[in-house]
Subunit: 116 residues, 2 copies
């Protein structure tokens, strides 16, 4: 498990990406998938996830569909056309960010020149 501060700011992008890849998912499923894909190292908490899903819905990036499994409710989320665009943009940004950070923390024989 990572000290969660690193995960901050990536949640929205992760959700949008999962929905783009998998078409339709419900909240609990997302927590389990991220857990599995990260080898237990990233655990999305419900207190962070559900408010973010509601926010994405309010922004018009996702729509919902409620389904009953027996008597238990399940709320599926999927991307709107706008959400698909947002997803792509966010992913482009995250990819670039990861690369920049990778550079930033590596190339360091550089106490005097700065530029690369």
């Amino acid at each position: 498990m990572y000290s969660s501060e690193l995960i901050k700011g990536t949640l929205k992008t992760i959700i949008l990406h999962l929905l783009k890849e998998n078409g339709k998912m419900y909240g609990y499923e997302m927590t389990q998938m991220v857990k599995a894909l990260s080898q237990e190292k990233i655990q999305i908490t419900e207190g962070a996830l559900y408010p973010m899903l509601h926010a994405l819905e309010a922004l018009g990036d996702v729509t919902t569909e409620t389904v009953y499994i027996g008597k238990r409710v399940r709320k599926y989320y999927s991307l709107t056309p706008q959400g698909k665009t947002t997803s792509s943009e966010k992913m482009k940004e995250l990819t670039a960010f990861l690369e920049t950070m990778g550079n930033l923390i590596k190339k360091q024989n550089n106490a005097h020149g700065y530029a690369t």
Copy 2:
């Protein structure tokens, strides 16, 4: 420039890393170095930087040394022994996190199996 939400949580690690690589730096210098190393894409704001430096000092990870350049003050920061340990730990974590995130957002022909 990245939408800054991604940078959240990485600031402490970046500072500790810069100090480990460069031995001794002052705040303004850090902002310029990160800007240069990231090709202008990451801009550390002063409102985030200075409070974080003060926090690191309070935690015992850095010590300070004030120098006058003409009449203008400059405050150099350097790692304490404890700070060096913290720096290593944080970097290990960040590196692992970047890799995990890289996996999470790539390997996706996986709508049904989850595990990798």
